[in-house]
Symmetry: C2
Subunit: 222 residues, 2 copies
Amino acid sequence: MTMNWPDLIEQQPALARIPDELRKRAECRALDSGATLFHIGDKVQSVFSVISGEVRLIRRDMNGNEIVLQRSRSGFFAEASLGSTRYHCDAVAMEASCLLCFPARPFRAALDDDADFRDAWLGHLAREVRKLRAQCERLSLRRADERIIHYIESEGSDGTITLNQSRKAWAAELGLTHEALYRALSRLQSEDRLSIQGQQLRLGRGSPTKAARQAAGDETKQ
Amino acid sequence: MTMNWPDLIEQQPALARIPDELRKRAECRALDSGATLFHIGDKVQSVFSVISGEVRLIRRDMNGNEIVLQRSRSGFFAEASLGSTRYHCDAVAMEASCLLCFPARPFRAALDDDADFRDAWLGHLAREVRKLRAQCERLSLRRADERIIHYIESEGSDGTITLNQSRKAWAAELGLTHEALYRALSRLQSEDRLSIQGQQLRLGRGSPTKAARQAAGDETKQ
DNA sequence: CGTACTTTTGAATCGCATCAAATCTGGTGG
DNA sequence: CCACCAGATTTGATGCGATTCAAAAGTACG
């Protein structure tokens, strides 16, 4: 089981501080599109990290409607499961995917023994909490344009973001239909509140150094 | 600094496994309505838990609009800050509030030294993650009644819940205006999908043993 | 009793979902 | 290279449901 750790770590900094013994026990697992990784009620036996593809945590309500709890395209998912013995939802690959699997017991042991790793893990959970809080606040905004702006401001940097997904998928993440997203995007663009170049989105007028101008003394408010 | 720990723990189970040395160093702090607890960029020097009142984590976008990242009325908030050296947002009391403050360094030290406390903290973060995911899921439902049902199903038990807040506050948590919530509640009630007795809400017809009747053969749907 | 707040109902408006359909895109196989 | 297909992207028309503004009734508290 030779793993290219440098590349993986490059892609997922959270993996960097995993101790060697745990790395040796990591396994790689391929999932076909549509394959189920675990079912609700299954025992928690592994901790997973997505290398490629997409895995979703899903629950079904009484009417059989699918409810997406988490959509993960990179990094750990179902981290919360480490705290419990059984899963609270299903995990399904939405496309052909590749996962890193760490056995849960050694993982917990490493958290106990390795202070560095523990710090990294706590930091990872903390980031996750921050991200989810931001998403809740975003979803509680009522208008589509507000959600878009909020997303760019909280997920991007300096008012700029490069989307790593289709707009249709983005719309779902924003809690909008794709039509509503497209319309809001073109409205924002026509009002000069947003500039779009492919997957690159930038707030404000499109000129290169908006942040620079602001830093230079554009104290309009506050 | 005499603190009534039993009562506090009753109110916030997360406080139960805090080691004694750390408890001794806890301080209580009162905030006036509108007071700022910390500013963005400030050094993280304490971990806070809300005892009463309301504190919000806030950030301002480039236009000076307020973005609420977290609204906390009970329990730890800005837990995520433990991972970083400086705050990513402001914290402001929305009403006269009372906080428990733990100094950050001893808090981190306790996490390192006390395996029990560490487990509890990891569990706390994990629960927080799960709860936030459930809330995201709920907020992405479009209709008011769906959010209400979802809330009762995921936060209550057995289709019943006792609200611990005003409906107005609940409406905010559900991402609705209070008017929309009131209307949806009475609609649900008139359609016999929900029974309300004060703060007690129960799904389905209000008679005592709804689950029993259903078990007895009330297969209206599915 | 009065003040502040929550609860409740009403009417008008706005924005998003929905349904429908056209265009564009990348990829496949002939 | 082209025909073809599945998916994403885009635009249009319509209706529903939540927001908004307004106001009344209820409630807690000093």
